[in-house]
């Protein structure tokens, strides 16, 4: 392998037979290029998909109250169900460890103003657990804590967008801000990976909102996450049990679908994981498809090259070349061409993805890219395939009698 004369022979052969070298290089480069681009696009689709389904905890359940549609236990149809603080505590006590985080929610639309800047926002009055359920990240300051809840403190945590809207010249943290006539202190600014709509929101302690908006202990709806260790079936049965218990608690008919609605993300989660799996299969098929096309291409070229070099092989054998030296000269040449060409395909492919990637976002392709190790793996596969495909014709060529190879044709 480290015989400089052998390498000299090989480089001379590559260099002097440029058309042949370029053609076989082109096939490999093109296969890797296609592989990179297709894989990148598939990855981009996957990214879009991930983003669309957000970063909210996927093990979550939302419980909405409604009106009864069935008479039950002597109670009328059309009765409105109202959740109150004890219901929140009931769930916590009843299900204990199975509940990971739980929050009640009161919603309100307010007009916020600060030094002449004014805008309308949604206020979500919640418990501290909400931060984990929504997967919010604190940018500055802190989140709502139990102390705020206990003291019914007039503090708020604002989304990044609210911060940017109202606090043009100064920082929001520590400032008093007016929400529909009542003054609150900003104690934190948060961000949310799900984007601007989720950052255009103000959080407030639940108890504060109940006090200020005269709701006493009323709750609009509840949001909880269950133990993430639960599997799909356990999560579903947990959701069903929760529904059943709540219906009993509010004397709602078991078959009443409207009075209490429990939206269990586990059901959706299964669909998402199936779709992700489907996408993964498509990506694999695309990857293998291009690779196989590349393998077929390089195999054909190797057979052609050996055929083309038959006479040269005959001459070399007549001059005393051993079969082994014939095989190695052909194979090493092909490995070199494949490696260099594969590298170029990789460079061009990732270059194209970088260039056009950003403009593909409107076609649901986000950040199309491929991991370098994957493409290198693909190139190595092609090199191995080329070597294997070249080995047998090269071996055959090295075995043919020189006289056959030299025969005038």
């Amino acid at each position: 392998m480290f015989d400089t004369d052998l390498w000299r022979e090989i480089f001379q052969s590559i260099n002097k037979n440029r058309t042949r070298s370029l053609l076989s290089g082109f096939t490999v480069a093109f296969a890797i290029l296609l592989f990179t681009i297709l894989f990148g696009i598939a990855n981009g689709l996957n990214n879009t998909f991930d983003e669309a389904f957000g970063t909210d905890a996927s093990n979550s359940i939302i419980i909405f109250p409604g009106r009864t549609t069935k008479a039950h236990k002597g109670l009328q149809v059309g009765r409105r169900i109202q959740f109150r603080n004890p219901d929140h505590d009931y769930i916590k006590e009843e299900f204990g460890e199975k509940v990971q985080f739980i929050t009640s929610k009161v919603m309100k639309n307010v007009t916020a103003s600060f030094r002449g800047e004014q805008n309308n926002y949604e206020v979500r009055a919640v418990n501290p657990d909400y931060m984990f359920i929504e997967n919010n990240k604190i940018k500055e300051g802190r989140y709502i804590n139990q102390n705020d809840i206990d003291k019914k403190a007039k503090v708020i945590v604002i989304g990044k967008v609210v911060d940017e809207d109202l606090f043009l010249k100064t920082t929001a943290l520590g400032k008093q801000i007016n929400l529909s006539g009542i003054s609150y202190k900003v104690v934190g600014v948060f961000t949310d990976d799900e984007g601007l709509n989720e950052e255009n929101v103000i959080y407030m302690p639940l108890t504060t909102a109940q006090l200020v908006y005269g709701k006493n202990d009323e709750i609009d709806f509840m949001h909880l996450t269950y133990d993430p260790e639960m599997n799909y079936d356990e999560a579903l049965s947990f959701g069903n049990l929760l529904t059943k218990k709540l219906k009993e608690r509010f004397s709602v008919a078991r078959s009443d679908q409207r009075a209490i609605r429990v939206r269990n993300m586990a059901a959706g989660k299964k669909a998402i994981s199936q779709m992700t799996f489907g996408l993964g299969v498509i990506i694999l098929v695309i990857g293998f498809g291009t690779l196989i096309a590349g393998i077929v291409g390089i195999s054909n070229i190797m057979i052609f090259i050996v055929k083309e070099r038959t006479k040269e092989i005959g001459i070399r054998k007549a001059l005393g070349a051993s079969p082994k030296s014939i095989v190695s000269i052909i194979l090493i040449e092909s490995v070199i061409i494949t490696t260099i060409a594969g590298y170029f395909g990789l460079l061009i492919g990732t270059g194209i993805l970088k260039l056009v990637g950003p403009s593909l976002k409107e076609y649901f392709i986000k950040d199309p890219s491929v991991s370098t190790s994957l493409v290198i793996g693909a190139t190595i596969t092609l090199i191995l395939a080329g070597t294997l495909a070249g080995y047998f014709p090269a071996k055959n060529a090295s075995q043919i009698k020189p006289i056959v190879a030299l025969r005038n044709d």
Binding site: Q12, L319, G320
Partner: protein, 233 residues
């Protein structure tokens, strides 16, 4: 130098086989210059190829320089070819992407000679055939006669015991043919053993011995008065 006895060779053609050599007996001594003649299909090229270890006989004995040539592995055959034999072909068989010097140096490469020494050696042999100034030209930039001279230099480079020429002048015009033959005669004068396959009488008469083949057997084997090529150029 060379001893062949009762050599047979057939080629399969479809279901039947063509019996090309039907028991050849031939002794060649050191320093001889032998023409092997015959019409096409007489088996002369097949005989040369067997002598050159480019092809194998079906039966019979072939002893080259006291070494029995039989059941050689490809590897061993390669070593023997490199060590004992120099080939000159009708169609030159130079490697088209290598220049004259590199072509001549190739058998030395397969001998494992160092690059520098190889090139000096190759240049010396190119000088002998008068092509020193053409050393860095590719075969396509040289005339037929020049190409054949490069091929001769290549055949000589490994300093073989036996030079085998298959219709060496077949692709050349008369004047060039005689020039080539003059070279070959010079080599023989220096003591090299040479076998030439030809179907041209004038070329055969420039050798010292003529072996005539017909239908796979030797019809005639006679020593002749050598005609010097130089007089005819």
């Amino acid at each position: 130098m060379l001893k062949i006895s009762n050599l047979h060779k057939s080629y399969p053609i479809g279901n039947t086989s063509l019996h090309v050599l039907k028991g050849i007996n031939l002794d060649v001594e050191d320093g001889e210059m032998v023409a092997i003649m015959g019409s096409s299909g007489s088996g002369k090229s097949t005989l040369l190829n067997i002598i050159g270890m480019l092809d194998e006989a079906d039966s019979g004995d072939y002893i080259l320089d006291k070494l029995p040539i039989k059941d050689l592995t490809e590897k061993k055959a390669a070593v023997y070819r490199n060590k004992f034999l120099g080939f000159i072909f009708q169609s030159f068989n130079l490697i088209n992407y290598k220049n004259a010097l590199e072509n001549v140096a190739l058998p030395l490469y397969y001998q494992g000679m160092k690059r520098k020494q190889r090139q000096e050696e190759a240049m010396f042999h190119l000088g002998k055939v008068g092509l020193k100034d053409w050393a860095h030209h590719l075969p396509k930039e040289l005339s037929g006669g020049q190409n054949q001279r490069v091929a001769i230099a290549r055949a000589l480079a490994a300093n073989p015991k036996l030079l085998l020429a298959d219709e060496p002048t077949g692709a050349l015009d008369t004047v060039t043919s005689y020039e080539i033959m003059e070279f070959i005669q010079q080599l023989n004068d220096e003591g090299k053993t040479i076998l030439i396959v030809t179907h041209e009488e004038d070329i055969a008469n420039m050798c010292k011995r003529i072996v005539r083949l017909r239908d796979g057997i030797i019809m005639e084997d006679k020593f002749v008065e050598q005609v010097r090529a130089k007089q005819n150029v």
